[in-house]
Symmetry: C2
Subunit: 578 residues, 2 copies
């Protein structure tokens, strides 16, 4: 049976199961979510109003045996940026949806009765929508446990915590990973959109599915083998990430002078030794945790981990570079265990590591909290944010809005979304990605760090302007295509350096569907996606004046390189000429 579009209308609690329109047939992941949002959502609508939609779609290779193909895309109009958003996540959801034949799940409308929250359960034949008053006010793990119990673990789960219910702009949509921990559709306040639709959780039947089929099974297997080997042979995806996790980047980026510290006042952190990946790996080994853990089935990189406390008790997992940077370097907590405790709490609340962490950095300038005070940060999360107090709302609105409330000028956001762990002044290619991607400041949209710092795909000097616009454009086109396959962003490393990797990826898609894409088709797909997203944003009111770093980066020098952001507007705007 062919894949279907599952469409849920929350305004009357009904659903339809529709055939896939011919135009959408060849699309998956980001390509599909952005196409549907652009086709069906008024770019001028209020992101939390009845006319916004959420589209969940697995990638083209999700559900297959291809390594690292377990990413699921969510598309919507972001209440944080006001523009289009695609956010993808690992966990079990992509595989389950693909195997069940859910090409996309579209959620539209808002219930008239907003006095409760609903649970949406998707099965092959139908969608159940029922009120779950018993889950209202609960956080993610409570919901996860309740759903796993209800369905005897044969279910994929997506959920929001209390901040999502309260429509806070730092809120995520969390999903279960293979070990029962949480991963998140992050950035852009997507949890608030789910909250606005009064959906507490979405489950997808993981019992009654069939394995996906392959038009050319042998060809698929062969390509898959080449692809897996490319991932394993690459020094970053095959060695660095498995050994130290993403947090291997702390020392690398710090040494490059591009690790934002003290709310983006320096590119160098005095805390690096205490919080780096090497220190973390040591502690994990000492304490009986695990340095390797895959966020979705079929992951051969295993960059996640299990992090225990001093007594060997479980503290957190999915403990990533961005989280550790935001709270450790930028906000200044020296104690990795304290950061881990905050990480676990944030998973349960369902709030975004980057947006929340950067907001705490800005909150230091607002004199709300002292630099490095992890105890108070934990308290604010557990008491103020979880309960939606005025202070909780102030932090829960994200860095850009906090800056507006406190009259601050040094607010590191692009399109109102917090800038991640790479300083745009010192890693300029990454800066071009931040300002031009339709997503708002997003490090995954075109990871120029690869070529600026990691010598992957050649080398472009991070401190010079030359070549950065072209680098970022090529990476963003490639990423938009990769985000449509269900592949994890880290396939970029072998793809940039191993000539066998990308052809193998394309071969897998061809073998899965019995088609014959080539490299140009993939590039065209990426270009088309970017242009669709950019056009949506222009109509939504995000034009070239929004493709900018915060102004202070143009006149404030960043130590240690005394780097400033020196691109002219014309140089940036040139990005869109393709």
């Amino acid at each position: 049976m062919s894949d279907k579009i599952y469409r849920v209308d929350m305004s009357n609690l009904t659903y339809k199961i529709e055939d896939v329109p011919a135009d959408w047939m060849g699309l998956g992941g980001r390509g599909l979510t952005s196409t549907i949002i652009a086709a069906e959502v008024d770019p001028e609508c209020h992101p939390l109003g009845p006319n916004n939609k959420m589209v969940f779609a697995p990638g083209l290779l999700s559900g297959t045996t291809a390594a690292n193909s377990g990413r699921n895309s969510l598309g919507t109009k972001s209440p944080l940026t006001g523009g289009i958003k695609e956010s993808n996540v690992g966990g079990t959801i992509a595989g389950v949806m693909a195997k069940l034949g859910v090409k996309a799940l579209i959620i539209e409308g808002i219930p008239e009765d907003d006095s409760t929250f609903y649970h949406v359960h998707v099965t092959k034949e139908k969608v159940l929508i029922e009120a779950v008053p018993e889950l209202v006010g609960k956080n993610n793990y409570f919901v996860l446990d309740a759903m796993e119990e209800k369905y005897n673990k044969k279910v994929a789960v997506m959920t929001i915590g209390r901040p999502g219910e309260m429509k806070m702009l730092i809120s995520n949509i969390s999903v279960r990973d293979p070990k029962g921990k949480l991963r998140s559709h992050g950035r852009g306040g997507v949890g608030a959109v789910m909250g606005s639709k009064k959906i507490k959780c979405i489950t997808v039947d993981a019992q009654n599915y069939k394995e996906v089929t392959y038009a050319q099974p042998d060809k698929f297997k062969e390509a898959s083998k080449v692809f897996t080997k490319a991932l394993q042979d690459n020094p970053i995806s095959g060695e660095g990430l498995p050994a130290f996790g993403t947090n291997v980047l702390i020392n690398i980026i710090n040494e490059a002078g591009g690790l934002p510290s003290h709310n983006f006042r320096s590119g160098h952190s005095e805390n690096a030794e205490e919080i780096c990946g090497e220190t973390m790996a040591e502690k994990i080994k000492e304490r009986g945790g695990s340095t390797t853990h895959g966020c979705h089935a079929g992951c051969v990189i295993q960059c996640s981990q299990t992090y225990n406390d001093k007594d060997g008790n479980y503290l957190t997992s999915g403990f990533e570079y961005e989280m550790i940077w935001a709270f450790g370097a930028n906000f200044g907590i020296k104690d990795l265990d304290q950061i881990a405790k905050i990480d676990a709490l944030m998973d349960d609340l369902g709030v975004d590591a980057i947006e929340t962490g950067v907001t705490f950095g800005v909150a230091v300038d607002a004199e709300i909290i002292k630099f490095g005070d992890g105890v108070e940060a934990y308290r604010i999360l557990a008491e103020e944010i979880a309960n939606g107090t005025p202070l909780g709302r102030v932090i829960g609105g994200g860095a850009g809005n906090l800056g507006k409330l406190y009259g601050l000028v040094r607010v590191p956001v692009v399109k109102n979304q917090s800038i991640p762990a790479y300083e745009p002044r010192a890693i300029k290619g990454q800066g071009i990605t931040y300002v031009t991607t339709p997503m708002g400041a997003d490090h995954t949209a075109g990871y120029a760090v690869a070529t600026n710092i990691l010598n992957s795909g050649g080398f472009v000097d991070p401190l010079k302007k030359d070549g950065q616009v072209e680098l970022s454009r090529n990476l963003q086109i490639a990423s938009a295509a990769v985000d449509s396959t269900g592949m994890c962003i880290f396939v970029a490393f072998p793809a940039l350096d191993d000539p066998k990797c990308l052809p193998a990826l394309i071969d897998m898609i061809n073998a899965r569907f019995g088609i014959s894409l080539d490299g140009d088709d993939v590039t065209n797909l990426g270009s088309t996606i970017l242009k669709i997203e950019h056009a949506f944003n222009l109509k939504a009111g995000l034009g070239s004046a929004d493709d900018r770093v915060p102004e202070f980066m143009k006149y404030e020098k960043l130590p240690p390189h005394d780097a400033i952001w020196d691109f002219t507007n014309e140089e940036i705007d040139e990005f869109w000429n393709f």
Copy 2:
């Protein structure tokens, strides 16, 4: 001696007194402030950063004996809207500046040492800039008293209260009126810009000036007589406003079904009887107040008043329709005395009546406060806002930002600025002004209420779309020109209906400067100003997607007429085709 440009650079506490460039010679008020801001301020700059400027300029007729010519313009990039702002005010400042020969006072830069606030004193020959630690943390009347004592009352004063120091987006810049009360450069968070420049107060020497001169004194006198008579003969400016103040509008707009109530849920308020101008005039008479008071010298309308409490003690003045609507109808306080107490407190704090009042209306939806709870609103102002607590910051950021923090969809703002006391759905010409004016929702930018409701300048049915775009455009062009003369907005009433009024106004300008403008010149001036402002906004990132009412007004019917906002985007965007 000819007029000069006074330019203060706060980055090094220096000043220059410059000749007026030829291009600026024929400009005053809004025409001059918008021209200077567009010429000298990067539209992409942070409004609270070092590259924004403030320009104060009296109107072309300010300082003359012309009736109602006492308005002073302030131009800046607004931190609330992100676009250009012109805000004009009565009081004594315009006349004093004009007589002293200050064509414009430009403030630029931000002090390196931000540990204190400064006092800027402008005299004919020089500008004094000195730290005033003793005024930091004080509110407006304290500053006013201190300055009047220091200069033996021979001084015009502009000041910010604590919210302005804290750069809150609801903050105004207040100025002394002829009776020692306060008027305000309101809207758009202009107090925050002054706060960002670390200026607590600006004084202008009112002792050593010369009366303005006239190229043709007799012609001026004659035209002035005709103009004054037109103001006095008009039923609105000559009778309604003097008798009941601006608050005469409560009953009129309520009966028209266009008085926003319960956070813009209805066009009709159940509180009208208790808060209307007629009730207010009665109370004033009973309690020994005064129904007439001019906000600047030479005012013949005298729409302001002195409002006493039950015991005959002074409570407030400058007690206007917008304030009484916002707190009485939209937020629901029935007790006029309670609203008056809040008004007096807000004058002292220096916060905007419309922005603050509408924010309290939205705060009801956020469950921060109960509808109509004036005691709690007073407490929040006096304790939370004055002290910059998290709750104070939440309210102090204005309605649009509060809506973002609390995930609200029903947020009545245009370009993030609160919509004033006329419902766009029920008074559609006024709605067109809100969405198209470069100022953000601003009722004075093109007061279509005149022709939609008051039968001034003909009649255009307020509930129909026909003719509204043209009406608003004509009014906005005329208003931009009038805002350049220093004239009060209420000259619009005779100007629309008495064929002798506008020619007399033009004759006064001609006689003052020895020039020969005609009606077309004035229209061209107005058009040019609008286009300069619009071009600035486009570069600042405010495009057609920002020329919109909040989306809920497109699908939520407004009682009693069940009116919706039914303009297409194309119909609105047609506004700029001139």
